[in-house]
């Protein structure tokens, strides 16, 4: 009995330790790379069933713990569990179709979807179906939220705020990004870049392959960049924000109760303060009369770093690993593509700087409310 209790406790502690976003992100990134590499193996129905069984077993076992169960079974969090299962299902389904098609392509057969003669007109067929789906989903959501008594938070009050104050689930990922970025960046610039970037895709990527059928072999870069962004930078932050953030937006392991009194998290410093030493300048700040260039000079290390990241790196890549890509895309497309991709990479890069070096901002032109 004692041995068993010890094992369970160490399992809990191990999971709490593993649940730090840095480790979760690393594990998921490795999992994603492995999943894309061996996509023809694990997506076979037998393997996939085994994986699904494993996932359900882990979820059920973890659900035996009262602390975790309490977090997951909150009415507004239950849906997130559903989201995880759906995400796994659709990633499997997409990659499975891709595996089938890629096998067929190797045998010289046309893709699975090519033979299907089920084309119909968007209007009225698709649009009408969408309307029906919309009404059905709304009805389902209303009934579900009544059944689980979906919480309406109390009215806003100037003295007491909910702690933690969580956004609705679809914005929790954005809220989690805000932990690492300045509001105008995480709240305005990054979302705009996301929307613009997604809308620009058809113009950037004019490769006709993979249009109308699933494939990974013909579109490795496109598929993996999309999956990485969607899973690691959008879904994972939602999970972290929902299940691992407690009072004061502090990190808690899945099996740790949300006790509001925990130690303060690590103290952060700006990159400039790390380079020049001391944060005295930050505290004192330059007066309004100070010359404009003074903050810029102070932030030079970060500005140089970002310049290297956004300009020099894509240039170097275009001469080396991505030479073929640049030639195929042309200079202008390549430039837009690389700036978008680097912007996306800024998110995990900034997270890494925070986790490893306790960096608050790379460039902190605080005097002008401009922080990156």
């Amino acid at each position: 009995m004692i041995a068993e209790a010890w094992t369970i406790d160490s399992l809990r502690e191990g999971s709490n330790w593993l649940a730090h976003p840095a480790r979760v992100m690393t594990i998921c990134a490795i999992g994603l790379v492995a999943g894309l590499w061996w996509y023809r193996v694990w997506t076979r129905p037998r393997w996939a069933a085994l994986l699904l069984g494993g996932l359900l077993a882990v979820v059920t076992l973890a659900g035996l713990d009262p602390v975790l169960r309490d977090k997951v079974c909150r009415p507004d969090n239950l849906a997130i569990l559903l989201l995880v299962l759906l995400l796994c299902f659709f990633v499997w389904r997409g990659l499975r179709q891709a595996a089938v098609n890629d096998d067929r392509a190797e045998r010289g057969e046309p893709p699975f979807e090519a033979g299907a003669d089920d084309k119909v007109l968007t209007w009225p067929h698709l649009v009408f179906l969408e309307l029906v789906a919309l009404v059905a989903c709304s009805a389902f959501l209303v009934i579900w939220s009544l059944l689980v008594r979906a919480p309406l938070e109390p009215p806003a009050d100037l003295e007491t705020v909910l702690n933690p104050a969580k956004a609705p689930w679809y914005f929790v990922g954005l809220q989690e990004l805000l932990v690492y970025f300045d509001p105008w960046l995480a709240g305005v610039v990054l979302p705009v870049v996301m929307v613009v970037g997604l809308s620009a895709l058809p113009y950037l990527d004019r490769n006709p392959r993979g249009s109308g059928y699933y494939t990974l072999r013909e579109r490795p870069l496109a598929v993996s960049v999309f999956l990485a962004a969607f899973i690691l930078l959008w879904m994972l932050p939602i999970l972290v924000g929902t299940f691992l953030r407690g009072p004061n937006w502090t990190l808690y392991g899945p099996f740790e109760p949300w006790d509001p009194h925990t130690e303060s998290p690590a103290e952060l410093v700006n990159l400039s303060a790390m380079v020049w030493g001391e944060r005295s300048e930050m505290e004192a700040g330059f007066g309004a009369e100070a010359a404009l260039w003074r903050p810029v000079v102070r932030e030079l290390p970060g500005i140089v770093l970002l310049g290297f990241y956004f300009l020099v790196m894509p240039w170097v890549l275009s001469r080396t690993a991505w030479r073929g890509l640049r030639e195929r895309m042309g200079s202008v497309r390549y430039l837009v593509f690389s700036v978008l991709l680097m912007g996306m990479g800024l998110v995990p890069a900034k997270m890494l700087l925070r986790w490893l070096l306790d960096v608050r901002y790379i460039v902190a032109l605080t005097e002008w409310s401009l922080n990156i």
Binding site: V135, P155, A156, D157, L158, E159, V161, L162, N163, P164, A165, Q175, L178, V179, Y180, F181, D182, P183, G187, R245, P247, N248, W249, T250, H261, E263, S264, P265, A266, E267, L268, M282, E283, A284, G285, F286, G287, A288, A290, R360, Y361, A364, T366, E367, S369, N371
Partner: protein, 162 residues
């Protein structure tokens, strides 16, 4: 008239109209955190007795805390300099903590943890006839070097017991 499609479309139209009409109400905030303009927070003599590091939470509803620092008395804004969430004073850690993205500010209002890029704003404090008046219209921002301004703090002797 009373076909399924008729009922469905009518319900959809009605629901849609109500929804659209509800949008302006949704967009209007329930509470605005505008600090009141002039607040008389009491006798200066009373505050001189207060021990160092005391945070007076009585004026949170008006949008500020009164904090006794070694050098004097300051009125710190209660809104986080990251995205403006309302902070909580945590006396165990001695930090003003943000429930939104985890920023933490020390007693002087300096941003220590989390994403907040700049220190808490200090409201203007003046003394009139021995009473301390806080003025929410004028705010002093540390990162702009404004904390040296004479009205950003009521200077007090560091005499009170520590």
């Amino acid at each position: 008239m009373l076909t399924a499609a008729g009922v469905g479309w009518t319900a959809l139209t009605l629901g849609g109209t109500v929804g659209v009409l509800g949008v302006p109400r949704l967009l209007a905030p329930n509470v605005t955190a505008e600090p009141e303009v002039l607040v008389d927070i009491g006798e200066l003599a009373g505050y001189a007795q207060v021990s160092l590091g005391t945070v007076d939470e009585r004026f949170k509803r008006q949008g500020f805390w009164v904090v006794r620092l070694p050098e004097g008395l300051v009125a710190l804004s209660t809104s986080c300099t990251h995205l403006g969430c309302l902070l909580n004073w945590d006396d165990r850690d001695g930090r003003f903590k943000c429930p939104c993205h985890g920023s933490g500010f020390d007693l002087a209002g300096v941003n220590r943890e989390g994403p907040a890029p700049r220190p808490l704003e200090r409201l203007r404090v003046t003394v009139e006839d021995g009473r301390v008046i806080v003025d929410g219209r004028r705010r002093f921002r540390g990162e702009r070097g404004e904390w040296g301004h004479s009205e950003s703090m009521v200077r007090l002797e560091p005499s009170a017991e520590s």
